[in-house]
Symmetry: D2
Subunit: 441 residues, 4 copies
C-alpha cells in the first residue's frame, strides 16, 4: 500500500490535483542533525523545470517539515512533511476525459477504484515521489554520518544510446557469441572505477545526469556555445566520447517529434557494511528490486552482473576472496554486485533500472474511449519527453531507504547476539572470531 | 524475514542439514478442495535428480500436510506442511570449512549471524524453496478454480543460447542501432502466441524445460537416439530450430568442464482480472520483483518490454486500447506486460528472471580462507551445473502467491466499495459504470 | 510504531510543540462521500476547552484534508490531513526541566530516545490522538453507510463514582460472596437496554459524557442554576440518580485540590456482522485491546463480562442460542460481549477501558532530578483534572478503526470463498448453508 | 492472523483433530544455547492431565525441533517445531454436531469460514497454544541469559476466591467509598514483595499454581492427608490462609457440579531494561494486551494499578522518582506497573488477565440448533473445569515474546543512535548523558 519499510518506514500521500503531497517518516534514529536544506537539495534535483541549469532558481516544491525534530536534531518521533501543490484544483472535464490514455494508469485506476481522479492516474503521478525523495534524503543523512555510506545514481542510457562499452555496466550480449565463453569486457576496470569514485557533482555536471569523465571539457564548451534548453542546436563532436550530449540530443529529438524515450539509471551504494539483508524473502536485492519497481515507469531491475551474468560460466563469474589491507575479506571481482546469498558482503552495491518511454506524448493516438468508441486522442498538457534525469534522485532515495531499513534490522539482531555469552560448543571455524559487536564503519 | 505476503502468507523454515523443511500457509480461502497430490506434482518438478526422465521415479521430497484441511477441503485455518530431509546430520568438518566458497553465501551468512551452519550458506540452500513451491501449488489451485488463472514458466535461455529472436521476449539491442527507432521484431506475434498458449506439458516435454513448438518431433528423435543423461553426444541439427537441445547441450558442456552456467526463465500469468496491485509501494510488478529476487541465484527481473522497452519511443511503445468481444477494453499490443501504473489491466502478464551461474563448481578455485590465508579450494559435493530447469516451478509458485495475495487485498476493497450507495456527485465519466461488484472471471 | 491497521491503516505524526499534528489514512474504500465536517465533529468533541458548553465555540483544531478525495468523494488513495498547532515554539527551558515529572513520560522518552523534546513526553501528548480521531471519523462514516454500524462510548465512572449497579457494566464483586455463585445483577436488562439504545446526543447532553436517562431533567436544572465551569457550586440532589453530576463534581473537586482523578469509558458497537476477527493472534478482542491500550493514560481493558465474568460459573455465563426473527441465530444473554472464540457473533460488542488519573497535577511533588538530586517539582502549565470526557471520541475512533480493518480482511476471505464451487465432500452440517456471500447488513 | 511479533516472530498452525500442531519461530538471535528440554519444560507445564502431581509423568506433547539450530546452538534461522496430535482423526459426526455449543467458537467459526472443522471451534482449541508456549520458552532462554529477565505468572483468583487483600493486586473497590480518597491497602508492600521474589518453583508447589507463602506448611499437611486428585475431601482450615487449597476446592466443586469456573492470572516480568515500547500504537502495554487477549478464554487485562487505579487521585497515584544505589532512577511506588507513556521504566512489570469460565460443561443446556430448532445439548467429552492453572505457562510465553520483540526493536534504534556524533546543539538537560550505548543488564 502506501507504506514502505519495516523499521525505517515511509508513508506517502497525495496526487497531482490535491492540496499537497507529503509523507510521514517513522523510525528515524534520534539525535540526527537535520535541516530543511538536507531534504530540499534532493527535492530540487527531482522537481520539474530544471532543464536549463543557468536559469534563476524558481522556488518550487519547498518542503515544510512539521514534526519530529527540535533545534535541528531529530527526536526519534515521526517526521511529518509536506509540499504544497501549486495548482490544486481538480481539472475541468473535457473530451479527453472520455479516453483512457494508452499505457497510462487511467484505465487501471478506474478498474481498481471505480472512481477516477482528475489526474486520471491518481497516485501514479510523479508528484507522489516527492515524499520518497524527502524520506531518502533523511535516510542518507544518517547513513553518511554514521557509516560514511554514499549513494550515487546516474543515467546510463537514453534510448539506444548507452555508456560506451568500456565504461559500461554489463549488458546483454547477442546470440552470435553463443559458443564463446570468453567474457573479457564485461566488468571493466573503468566501470569499477566509475562506480567507486563517481560523485553527485559529476553527475549533475550535465543536464542528462550521464557522467563520462573524458568529456567534461567538451561538454562545457558545447553548453557555452549552444545549449538553449528547448532547442536541439548541439554540435555533436563524437558519439562515443560525447555520450551525455548525444543522450540529451536524443531526448530533444524525442521532444521535437512530440514523442518520448526511455532509458536506464545505474546506482552505486558504497561503504555498506556486510551482513545486511534478511533471508529468505527479504534478501537485500529483493527489497531493492521491490523499492525500484515501485518507482513509476520502471519495468526492469538487475543487480551486479544481472542479465549479462546469466551467460558467464561459474568459473569466471565467481568472485574469489582476497584479504583487504584492513584484514577483512573482500572480493577480487564483483560480479555479485555486493550481495551474496541475499546478504551484503561489503563490496560496492550496484544495480540498474529500466524506465520505459513516458506514456504521455503529444502525437495523436488511435485508440478507443472507455465505452469502446474508437477515436483519436489529441494532445493534452506538457510532459517530460524522458524521465531518467529526474529519476536519479528518486532512485537514490529508494536505495537509501532500503539500506537504512535493513541496517536497523541487522543492528537489532547483531546487538542481541553480542549480549550472549561466547559460544563454546561449536568448532572454532563455525563461529565468527570476536570483533566489534556493532555494525559500524 | 521468512514470511511473504499480507493476506495469503507463507512462512518457511529449514536448511539442508536439519530434520525437515516446511512451511505454514496462512490465509488460504476456506472451502478449497485440496489433496496432497496438488502439492506433490510441483514439488516433484522441483526436486533434484530429474535429469533423465525415463528413470523410475524415486519418491523423494514427499509432502506431509499437517493441518488446515479435513475431508479434502481447506478450513481457512493455517496449512502446516513439511518434507523430511533425507540426510539430516550436520556434516563432518574438513579443510574445506576453512574457506568461504566464492560467490556462495558462506561468508555473508557468517558475517550476518556470527554462527556458521554445516551447510555454510544456511537458508540460501535451494531446499528452502520447497515450502514456497508447496504454498504456490495451493495458491494456484485456488486461482485456477475461482478465476481460471494459469501460470506457466519456461526456460528462455541457457548461457548465450536464447530462444530464437522471432519467438523471443524482447532483448536488449546493441549500440549500433542508436539512431534507428525502428523496432520491428521486438514483440513478435509468435512470442505473444507462445505466451497465450504455452502449457506445462509442453514445457516439460524436454528436460531443459525450454519449449519451442516447431522442434517437437526432432527433439523426440534426438532423445531416442542419444540422450543418456550425463553425456553430451547430441546430434545438433540446427541451432535456431533446436534451441532447447542446444541449451541442454550447453548445460552438459558446463558439467563436463566441471563448470556451471546460468540462464533465464520467462513466465506468463493468464486470465488475471484487472485491478490488482497496490499503489504505490506494492505495485503489482514491485511485489512480483520482490518475490522473484527472493529466489536463490536470481540477479535480474523485467516485466513486459523490460530493458528492451527503454529503447522504444513512446509512440511505438504505448499500447492502444481496443474493445474486446466481451465489451471490455483490452490493448492492441502488450508492451506493458499486463500492468499499467502498477495495476493489472487484464492482459497476459509476462516477465523474465535472470539466474546466475551456480557458484558451486568442481574446478579448483584460487581464493583465501576466512583468516585471509591464500589457498586453493578443491571440489566438494555434486551440484547442478545449471539451475534454470528446476527453477521453473519455483518461479510459478512465487508468481501464484503474489497474484493470490494481491487478489485478496483487492477483493477486500472492491467488496467494501460495492456496499456503498451509488456515487451521484461526480460526472459520469469519473465513475466506473456499474458492473459486477466482485473481482471474478 | 506510528501505524495501526492492516488494510485500513492509520499513520500519525506530531507532538505538542511542533508545527502541526496529522495523519495519513490509507485503505479507505473508494466512493465514500466525505466532507471535512464529518471529521471536524469528532475533533471538536475531543479538543480542549469544551467544559462550559454555553461558551461560544472557538474554532480550534480545524482539520485540513490534503488528499484522497475530489468533489466530496473518496478516491481510494491515501487521505492526508493535518491540524495546526497554535503555539508551535519549543518552550523556554526552566528549572522544571531538570525533573522528570512523576508518572509522566519524560523519563521514559529520554531513556528510549536519548533526546528530550520540549514537551517532555514527546508523542505521549494527547495531541497525538487528533490523527486517530480523524481516521476514526472516516472509518465510522463508511461503517454507518455500508452496514449501519454505530459506535457510542460514554463515561461509566469517575473516581469511585460508578453508574448505579442496575445500569452498570459488570464490576468485580468482593470476596465476601466467595461461596455464593448467584449472580443476579451482573448483566442487567437496563444495562443491555442502555447499550442497545444510547446515542451520542444523549452522551453529550452532560459535560461529563456520563449518560443516565432518568437524570436528564435534573441535569438541565442543575446546569442552569450553577454550572460555571471552574467552581464546584453544585447542588447534589441524589447520588445514585445524579451520577453524572456527581461525577462532574468529582472532577471539579480534583481540580480544586490541584489534583486529578481517573475513570472508565464504556463503549458499544452495534450492528457489526458476524465473522470478524482473525484467529489466532488477531482475535477481535485482541485487536481491540491493542487499540485501546494504545490510547494515552489507559491501564485496563475488559470486554463483555470481563473481570466480573471470571467469577461466574460456566452454566450461568454461557450465552444460549436463540433464533432471531430474521432467521439467524443470536444469543439470549450476552456475557460474551459480542465475541466468541475471537470472532464477532453479531451481538452488541461492549467493552470498558480504565484511564488512570492524569499524571500532571499542580500540587508540589517530592521527587528527584534526572541526576538524582532530591527536590520538589512545582506546578507547570494547565491540564485536565480528568481526561475521560475527552477520551470518549478517542475510544470511538479506535473502535471504528478496528472494526473497519477487520471487516476489510474478512471481506477478502469471504469474497474469495464465494467464488469457489460448492463443497460437496463434507456432511451438510459441516458447511454453512448458502446465503449472501458478502459481509453485509 | 497466525503470526505475532515484528522482529521476533511466531507463526503457529494446527487444531485439535489434525496431524500435529506447531510453529515457526523467526528472528531468534543466533548463538543462543538451546536444547529440546528448554522448550519441553514449559510444554509439560501446559499439557493436560497434570492434576495429580505424584502421578508418574506420561510423556505427552513431546516437542520435535526441526531446524534453526546445530550442536545445541541457534543459527539465527527460523526454528521449526511440532508436537504430534495423538488422536488425529476427524471425529464421527453425531447429533451434537447439529448444535453450536453456547459460548464456544462453533458458531462464529462457521460464520467466518463457512466450513466447520471436526473440532467445531477450529483454531480456538487450546492445543493451538502449544506453538506459543514453545516460542515463549525460547524467548525466555534468551532474555534470561542476556538480561537476567525473569517472567513468572501465577493464579491470583479462582471464581470469587482471590488472594487475600494484603497480598493482592489492586482490585476494584465498591461504590460505598465514593467520597473517600484514601487508598491505604491498594498496592501493599507484601504484594510488591511477592512480585519481586516469586519463583516458578513456588508457583508449582500447589496444583492450583496459586502461591501464598504463609500457607506452605499447611498445604503440605492438607495434601498429605487427603489430596486425591478428583475428590473434594479437603479439610479447609482457614479461608484467608489456605487460599490456594480453597481455590482448588472451588475448581473441584465446579467439576462435581459438571460446571466450570473462571479465574485470573497475574504475571510479573523482572529486570526489563528501560526504554522498551514503541509509541504510539505499539506501546508496551498495548502489545502486551494484544498478546494476552489473543489467549483463548481471556476477557480482560490490566497493567499496574489497572481498573483500581482509576479511583486513586493523581497525587497518590503518581510514582515519585528516587535514585537507586546503582545511580540510575527508579520509582518509590509502582502504580504504573513498570510502564510510563507506553515505555518501560525499569521497574517490575506486572499485569493481570481474566479468564472466563470454560464454555464446555457437562450439564445439559437449553439452546437451539444451527437451523434454529430448539433442543437440549447433552454433554460431550471431558474438559477442564478451570483453565487458569494451565494458562500460567501460556501467559508467561506471550509475555516473553512481547519483551523480546520490543527489545530487538529498541536495540535497533539505540544502536543506530549510538553511532551518531554527540549532539551539541541542544541544552544539556535535553540530552541523555552518555552511558552504555546498548540495552544491557
Amino acid at each position: 500500500m502506501s507504506t514502505f519499510g519495516k523499521l525505517f518506514r515511509v508513508t506517502t500521500y497525495g496526487e497531482s490535483h490535491c492540496a499537497s503531497v507529503g509523507a510521514i517518516i517513522d523510525g528515524c534514529p534520534p539525535g540526527l542533525p537535520l535541516a530543511p536544506e538536507d531534504v530540499q537539495v534532493q527535492l530540487s534535483r527531482r522537481r520539474p523545470g530544471q532543464s536549463n541549469l543557468t536559469t534563476p532558481r524558481n522556488e518550487k516544491d519547498l518542503v515544510q517539515l512539521q514534526s519530529g525534530l527540535e533545534h535541528g536534531v531529530t527526536l526519534g518521533t515521526p517526521i511529518g512533511l509536506l509540499v504544497k501543490n501549486e495548482d490544486q484544483r481538480p481539472h475541468d472535464y473535457s473530451e479527453t476525459d472520455l479516453y483512457p490514455r494508452p499505457s497510462h494508469a487511467d484505465y487501471t485506476y478506474l478498474e481498481k477504484y471505480g472512481v477516477k481522479a482528475s489526474s486520471g492516474g491518481g497516485r501514479s503521478s510523479a508528484r507522489e515521489t516527492i515524499g520518497r525523495v524527502a524520506a531518502g534524503a533523511i535516510a542518507e543523512k544518517y547513513l553518511k554520518l554514521a557509516f560514511g555510506i554514499e549513494v550515487v545514481a546516474f543515467v546510463s542510457s537514453v534510448g539506444k544510446i548507452h555508456l560506451p562499452s568500456h565504461v559500461a555496466p554489463p549488458s546483454l550480449a547477442s546470440d552470435k557469441d553463443a559458443d564463446n565463453d570468453d567474457v573479457t569486457d564485461a566488468l571493466s576496470e573503468e566501470f569499477r572505477n566509475l562506480l567507486s569514485t563517481i560523485t553527485r557533482e559529476q553527475v549533475d555536471a550535465h543536464p542528462t545526469r550521464c557522467p563520462h569523465h573524458e568529456t567534461a571539457e567538451r561538454m562545457t564548451l558545447v553548453r557555452s556555445i549552444s545549449y538553449v534548453g528547448m532547442s536541439s542546436q548541439y554540435i555533436v563532436i563524437n558519439r562515443e566520447m560525447l555520450i551525455s550530449v548525444v543522450s540529451l540530443q536524443r531526448i530533444i529529438r524525442a521532444k521535437d517529434k512530440q514523442d518520448s524515450i526511455g532509458g536506464t539509471v545505474t546506482c552505486v551504494i558504497r561503504n555498506v557494511p556486510s551482513g545486511l539483508g534478511e533471508p529468505v524473502f527479504d534478501k537485500f536485492e529483493a527489497a531493492l528490486a521491490h523499492a525500484m519497481l515501485s518507482i513509476p515507469a520502471t519495468k526492469s531491475f538487475e543487480i551486479g552482473s544481472g542479465f549479462r551474468g546469466t551467460e558467464v560460466p561459474g568459473s569466471k563469474h565467481n568472485d574469489p576472496f582476497v584479504q583487504k589491507t584492513n584484514g577483512s575479506l573482500g572480493t577480487k571481482t564483483n560480479w555479485s554486485g555486493g550481495v551474496q546469498g541475499g546478504i551484503t558482503n561489503g563490496e560496492d552495491i550496484y544495480f540498474r533500472i529500466g524506465f520505459k518511454s513516458p506514456a504521455t506524448i503529444s502525437q495523436p493516438q488511435e485508440t478507443v474511449q472507455y465505452d469502446g468508441t474508437p477515436g483519436v486522442l489529441a494532445a493534452r498538457g506538457r510532459h517530460d519527453p524522458c524521465v531518467v534525469p529526474r529519476a536519479v534522485p528518486i532512485v537514490e532515495a529508494m536505495a537509501a531507504i532500503v539500506v537504512l531499513d535493513q541496517l536497523l534490522i541487522q543492528n537489532a539482531r547483531k546487538t542481541a547476539a553480542s549480549l550472549l555469552p561466547p559460544i563454546t560448543t561449536l568448532p572454532p571455524t563455525m563461529v565468527m572470531p570476536p570483533k566489534e559487536t556493532l555494525v559500524s564503519k
